[in-house]
């Protein structure tokens, strides 16, 4: 069968491609590509943005994008102060991404820590912490965030901390449950018998074992943080000018809808596509890591 191999080679290719596509559906690949692109744009903002996000050109205000008859020097048009929308979009994406990463990380670290504490001390400590988790889960978080900002006044640091508090309860609940079940498993009992301190068992042995679940929760929480940040900035209660974020751009573009709809629609599309991509990627990741949850 010497001729079989050249014939089966091309025949194997579609099979392999189909297998590849079943493992990595095209939509998920597209989502991953968009996420990578967004991260690259945020990282390289200083180099790729044609203008600084505050540079004004007052003689060229409210210009349409180039495909609607605008000028080539402002590919996506300009806003009410003649600022280049492409540059603002790039910088706004960067701010939104940085804030979302910081916010989600704060929540993840805080929640995981609380989960460990609850699982370690048990008793009334655990009861109290879990009651806090329930209380937080039963309140719409945006309301608490608005209340905190109203009471303490708005500042960038406070805003990021508030975003971070969003979602901690998910990590706390997950971590507590997993640490409790991991503690009774063979490997944890064995290192404990070898004389390892609880801190060492938790950080060196249990944490790496539950990390994958926490990472999935991180990707699922990430779009929620973006939505919270953009919603609050949209309401004028989050990121304040001259800083810009996607939500803030959309909010200020709202008053020019009739004359220049693209000022609001472009950042809105960006928010929509990023939350969509991350949600899809997160869902896929969860299914990959825990097939029992498929179709939920």
């Amino acid at each position: 069968m010497s001729i079989a191999s050249p014939l089966t080679e091309p025949a194997a290719a579609p099979g392999r491609a189909r297998r590849f596509l079943r493992r990595y559906p095209p939509l998920v690949l597209l989502a991953a590509l968009f996420i990578i692109l967004t991260l690259l744009i945020s990282a390289a903002a200083d180099w790729i943005a044609p203008y600084h996000y505050t540079t004004q050109d007052l003689s060229n205000r409210l210009l349409p994008p180039v495909f609607l008859g605008g000028l080539a020097q402002y590919p996506l048009g300009t806003d009410e102060l003649g600022r280049d929308i492409l540059s603002r979009l790039i910088y706004a994406t960067r701010f939104s991404v940085i804030i979302a990463i910081l916010g989600t990380s704060i929540g993840a670290v805080l929640g995981t820590l609380i989960g460990f504490i609850a699982a370690h001390f048990r008793g009334w400590v655990e009861e109290t912490l879990m009651m806090l988790v329930d209380a937080q889960a039963s309140m719409p978080f945006m309301l608490l965030a608005l209340a905190v900002l109203a009471f303490f006044g708005n500042s960038l640091v406070l805003f990021i901390v508030v975003l971070g508090i969003n979602g901690w309860e998910n990590y706390a609940r997950l971590t507590r449950g997993m640490v409790l079940s991991a503690s009774s498993q063979g490997y944890a009992v064995a290192v404990h018998a070898l004389g390892a301190t609880p801190a060492r068992i938790y950080t060196r042995h249990i944490l790496p074992n539950i990390l994958s679940v926490l990472i999935v929760q991180f990707t699922l929480n990430f779009p929620a943080t973006i939505l919270l940040e953009t919603s609050m900035s949209f309401l004028g209660l989050g990121i304040q000018p001259p800083l810009t974020s996607l939500g803030q751009m959309l909010g200020s573009g709202r008053s020019h809808l009739l004359l220049a709809w693209w000022i609001a629609v472009l950042p809105g599309t960006m928010i929509f596509l990023s939350t969509l991509s991350i949600s899809m990627f997160g869902d896929w990741l969860r299914d990959r890591l825990d097939p029992t949850l498929r179709n939920r």
Binding site: L132, A135, M142, L144, A150, F234, N295
Partner: protein, 313 residues
């Protein structure tokens, strides 16, 4: 459902309420001197003393706390400085608008979400299932404010069919209710689907097939009632999303409800109103969750049975 179950739930609800009231009190007092906000830092000492006495701020902290809790318990939520009237009055005016919008949105989300979820589950892994699930993901990925703006652009500015903002006729209600309802419809469709799929894999469904129950009757009488049970809980949680969503949606469409009142109060730093909205929402949420918990035990005979015979639970 026994007395102990109800009492535990009641106790939890009370603890949550107490936590929120205390949170509001602490944050009100940690956020600076209300007298200074009211009078500025140039005021005479006598005037300051007068106002401190008037608002009871010269009393010891624990006494202020008890007066605050007693006031809240009697429905006294303080006085709005920027509107110069009691917060309770201000909220009483805004609540009907928020209820009108919220209940319509809830109805829309159920009318769209539940049938779509059922259809998707019955056609599992077929094209229609994928289509419905894609719609669901799109529905809850699109931010409320963006969907609202796209609708204003399309239906108000370009087609000129509907008014951009305000309240009054049914035309005013269409866009805000759709905006608010779409996100909830997406997650409801997803949840209904997974609930249906779980029920359909149960042994009693196979039994029904085996004894020759027709498909339509199997779905209507065996699957749907069982799949509806977890939906009750999820509707309780959706209420919180609707409250949060209404903050944004009411602002986009200038809908004169509680959400918009909250946003303008936050901008003006009118703390009494913010605190009032916070407490009111907390009460609503806690009561809704309590009702869901109790309804759950009442709807599902298995839970009722398990509760009254703890040895078999």
């Amino acid at each position: 459902m026994n007395a102990r179950f109800v009492l535990t739930k009641l106790f939890r609800a009370l603890v949550t309420l107490w936590l929120v009231v205390t949170f509001a009190f602490v944050i009100l007092h940690a956020s600076g001197d209300p007298i200074e906000i009211l009078l500025g830092d140039q005021a005479e000492q006598e005037v300051i003393d007068h106002y401190k006495q008037l608002y009871g701020l010269d009393r010891p902290m624990h006494e202020q706390y008890f007066r605050y809790v007693a006031g809240v318990a009697q429905g006294d939520l303080g006085f709005s400085l920027s509107d110069q009237r009691p917060v309770t009055e201000l909220l009483a005016e805004a609540i009907p608008a928020t209820l009108e919008l919220g209940l319509t949105a809830l109805a829309i989300s159920m009318l769209i979400g539940i049938p779509l979820g059922i259809v998707a589950a019955l056609n599992r892994n077929k094209a229609i299932d994928r289509f419905v699930m894609t719609f669901a993901v799109l529905g809850f990925s699109i931010p409320n404010f963006f969907l609202g703006i796209l609708m204003i652009l399309l239906f108000s500015l370009w087609l000129r069919w509907l008014p951009t903002s305000g309240m009054g006729t049914w035309q005013h209600l269409v866009m805000p209710a759709l905006t608010l309802g779409t996100a909830a419809a997406g997650s409801l469709a997803r949840f209904t689907r997974s609930s249906m799929l779980e029920v359909m894999s149960k042994l009693y469904m196979r039994t029904a097939v085996a004894k020759g129950v027709p498909r339509g009757r199997r779905i209507r009488w065996h699957a749907l009632p069982n799949a509806a049970i977890p939906l009750v809980t999820v509707l309780g949680f959706r209420l919180g999303d609707l409250v949060a969503g209404s903050i944004v949606t009411e602002t986009v469409f200038a809908w004169p409800g509680v959400g918009r009142a909250l946003v303008s109060a936050v901008s003006a730093r009118d703390l009494a109103v913010v605190q009032g909205v916070l407490l009111m929402t907390a009460f609503t949420m806690v009561i809704a969750n309590l009702l869901v918990d109790l309804a759950y035990g009442w709807i599902d005979p298995r839970i009722r049975a398990a509760k009254s015979r703890p040895s078999e639970a």
